[in-house]
Subunit: 579 residues, 2 copies
């Protein structure tokens, strides 16, 4: 299937994007890091997309041009002066580049628009608040003047979550608003400003006796939350979207890790309680989490912290004969009460095949050995995992998982592949620039199911995806529960037309909804998925969200323009529930 | 301290209460089960309360008289006919006994009022809905006619939660509304009507292959939720108050066990989602749980179920030298990531002393052995516990707990005492009738803290309690978390005056609040604790509750009269936050 003789490789653009260019905005992560498709992926793409080496000799729409935007700032001098009074003149920015920089996130629609220089929905100004006092004043003033207010963390949204559809101002929190406020070692909690980035938080916790010496820290800790966007997303972004880390099966989603929060809303400051559980009415933390900037600005977050014990990690890997047996094993482990694995990631047959090819396993003696034993390409399923926690707890989880996997016919392939995965865990998004340079897209959509409707959703969505030619589509489960799991769909296609992309993406979302999944397990809803929200949660529940919106933000200044379907016109609603 | 020569014992009233008497309402649980104070407790009471055998020769205010109430039903014939149309004539009840039966709960204020024949706050009628259709029609009609609507499960509330302060109608759900709606073995979930009692649910799950054969059940399960009121409380009551079972440290509070819910509200039916986690806006389950009947009537609850594996249970017991070392051990275990114990119950020195005396350990050779080893009466602390779950998981929890307890100087006293506790786990409330017959009260208040403010709350509240003469007061921790714990205060006193009782109780609540605890960990707020709610959660959060109330119940028909402080006059507010 994969010929070895090809030697041509495209001249991937692996240099720093020109300063102030569109590319510097669309590029994922570090400006000086890259990830080229491997030889194997390159071959696979040519085959599936029916392309030749010649197609990879000319790059297109690279976005190397400088951002030159002629969209006037609609805010008056008076308003801008007022903002300068609040945050300081140096923290009020109105140039085109910075306005575009904070306008988009990192979903394919964002990347395509940047490559095509489609500039829309800019904020009139970008503000860099220095502390919560600044934010309190900004919210009060915006509310008084009815100026739309958006919040930008580090722009990793894949739901158009932060896009300033109604203009106004965007607060860029990652500039200054990223400090530790408190650390309580007795309680195992840390309180940080919402703009803190993942690596900064983890670094601080891993080295607590030094970095948190002023709070008397003695032990070392971890935040337990490692989304793929870890390096370029903020604590605040994790919280308001209800994000999940790659080890959420053990550490929990962010809503399980959050201990307390403070929000500045147009009607006042909401400081939630500091108790692990209580019985004093509805849970306000759970009202504010998932509000995606539409109820108020998240300022301080108190997170649970966990002991940092990397020495206890037990890695494992298994190969199943087919998807059905893997799903049964997954469910059995999750319902066994043996403790939860930390990483627990089941690649479907498509992703397994893709992965083994990309890692150069295909057509090797190992591969032949797998095939001989009945673990056939296109059917077999790869499980990567590890367990964390106290030493014997972690050991027991691995040994119980091993027992269940064997019972379901899986072969133990040791923890080697998990270790490999671990080293590259945050790297995949870097692929998108090299692919995009040749009109290829790589995108993902994810959803949440219970075990009863898992197969319906999985089969139904994949069937739709694979109906398109020149498309690679596969999936994995990576956040598991007693009652169900997420499903994460990944699709790569030869596709460079925005409308075509949108139609395909909407079709996937229609099918996620049609087969009964939740529209998101951890990316949130934003403005992209909002048209599907009401059909999923029901009109009565959307009315609850709207009642809360009216309470917190009577002037609709907070992230307006479709977020969470709060102010979405009926004409944009989609409804594919057919049960 | 305890003399052995006394032989007199009071003539406890251990016979069925007369039919339709006040006593038949105030009595806990089964009409034919009793629990007399032991010889040791009797002696202790005489000593602390400075009473003699003579004081126990005449009973007072036993409530043996028949309930004869002359409080007219204020509902018109037309309204009653309409209710009869909905639920059937036999399910509309207006006699005094049944109206009083559902009016009160089981807090000391309720028991005292019944003994003293203080009849207030009766519903005008009691309805026994047969199914959710009945409830939908009742809610719609009450909303149309602005008739106050209360919901009664089995009356175990200790917060005046169900008291029909504004009259109207009370729905008694436990009569007919107690069936299994669905069981999904793949998802590990069961859906039941809200009026189902604890033992019925547990019995069904323990015997699923028989009792749930129509759903194809193969395995056996447990609900994991065992509050002390287990035998006389309903699933619906657990959920709307955010209750906790005695094994919540492992299984979670009810809000962790609930998977989905349906509520009938004046503005429509709220069916929450069926996903283990999702990122589609605020969590509606967490809005409705804790709403205590003020937003709508809970109809169907879908609960997670757990494997029933009693054979895996590992019991343990330890004696610590003092409270400080026990608290440190508790915190260390909870933060260790070794898995959670299932029962994990730390009696403070007062409760330990009380317990060891009551179990006849005091002054025995065992006791002398404890004392000799430095585990002194009045200082020592008893830990009872067990672990559940998969076999090796449960073993590891016990062995890790053992390690930590030893590190903190505790002595292993085996699992014998835990086993003893287990057999009597639901029996203590039966003590109250025998004590009440002699003007003695036994009551509890509980709260929630984080580890940082634990000692302040514990010491501050006990100091207040012990300031009163003729009072026994002690506490335990029984629901533990990485970040904190509950504290459960128990007080016994020679006290028979309602005003004196209320003043003392309010003083305790003032002190719970003053030292920074949440006003409830699992009893809820109801009408009793409502005056303290705003000072705890803050005006901004109470305003969120009120905004939701206005949305769900614009005519304020749902559990009106102070519940959750939603319609509490400012004059009743208490504020003891002094930080």
């Amino acid at each position: 299937m994969f010929k070895k003789k090809d030697t041509f490789m495209p001249d991937w653009y692996h240099q720093e994007a020109p300063k102030d260019s569109y590319r510097s905005i669309l590029k994922w992560g570090s400006q000086t890091e890259y990830k080229a498709p491997s030889k194997e992926l390159y071959k696979l793409m040519k085959e599936v997309f029916e392309m030749t080496d010649d197609d990879f000799k000319v790059k297109q729409e690279m976005g190397l041009e400088p951002v030159e935007i002629d969209v006037p700032c609609k805010l008056s001098k008076e308003v801008l002066n007022k903002f300068a009074d609040i945050v300081g003149e140096e923290n009020v920015v109105t140039d085109g580049y910075n306005r575009l920089r904070v306008a988009y996130g990192k979903t394919m629609v964002d990347l395509m628009r940047l490559r095509k220089k489609i500039v829309e929905n800019l904020p009139d100004a970008v503000l860099y608040p220095r502390d919560r006092e600044d934010i309190i004043k900004i919210v009060a003033y915006c509310n008084e003047k009815k100026i739309p207010l958006y919040v930008y963390g580090r722009g990793s949204s894949v739901t158009r979550g932060t896009e300033p559809v109604c203009n106004g101002v965007t607060l860029d929190l990652s500039q200054h608003f990223n400090k530790v406020i408190d650390f309580d070692e007795r309680n195992h909690t840390i309180t940080v400003e919402a703009g803190m980035l993942g690596p900064a938080l983890e670094e601080i916790l891993n080295n607590a006796p030094t970095t948190l010496a002023r709070f008397g820290a003695k032990g070392v800790y971890t935040c337990g939350h490692f989304p793929q966007s870890f390096e370029y997303s903020t604590v605040g972004g994790w919280v308001v979207t209800r994000g999940a880390g790659q080890q959420s099966t053990y550490y929990g989603k962010i809503e399980d890790i959050v201990f307390s929060q403070e929000y500045v809303t147009p009607v006042g400051i909401i400081q939630t309680d500091m108790f692990p559980r209580c019985a004093t009415g509805p849970n306000v933390d759970q009202i504010m989490m998932g509000s995606e900037g539409a109820y108020g600005v998240l300022t301080h977050v108190t997170l649970k912290v966990f002991k940092y014990m990397p020495e206890n990690r037990k890695r494992f890997g298994f190969l199943f004969k087919n998807w059905e047996s893997a799903v049964e094993a997954a469910r059995e482990v999750m319902q066994s009460e043996c403790g939860y694995p930390s990483l627990f990631r089941f690649s479907d047959p498509g992703e397994t095949s893709y992965g083994l090819h990309l890692y150069g396993i295909a057509d090797t003696p190992i591969d032949k050995f797998f095939e001989m034993r009945g673990y056939k390409d296109g059917e077999r399923v790869l499980l990567l995992g590890f367990s964390d926690g106290e030493e014997k707890f972690a050991k027991n989880v691995r040994s119980y998982v091993t027992k269940v996997c064997k019972k379901h016919g899986a072969m133990n392939i040791t923890g080697y592949a998990s270790k490999l995965w671990e080293t590259g865990r945050f790297r995949d998004p870097y692929l998108r620039e090299d692919m995009g340079d040749y009109g290829l897209m790589l995108d993902t959509l994810e959803c949440s199911v219970n075990w009863s409707n898992f197969m319906d959703v999985y089969n139904g969505v994949l069937e739709y995806c694979n109906n398109r030619e020149h498309t690679i589509c596969f999936a994995h489960m990576s956040h598991l529960y007693e009652q169900g799991t997420n499903i994460y769909f990944i699709f790569e296609a030869k596709m460079n037309d925005l409308d075509e992309y949108l139609e395909y993406q909407r079709g996937i979302m229609d099918n996620i909804q049609k087969y009964g999944a939740a529209m998101s397990h951890h990316h949130g809803i934003g403005k992209m998925t909002a048209p599907w929200l009401e059909a999923q949660i029901g009109t009565e529940q959307l009315n609850i969200y709207k009642a809360l919106k009216k309470h917190f933000d009577p002037n609709n200044i907070m992230n307006p323009g479709g977020t969470l379907a709060l102010d979405l016109p009926d004409s944009e609603k989609r409804d594919f529930i057919n049960k």
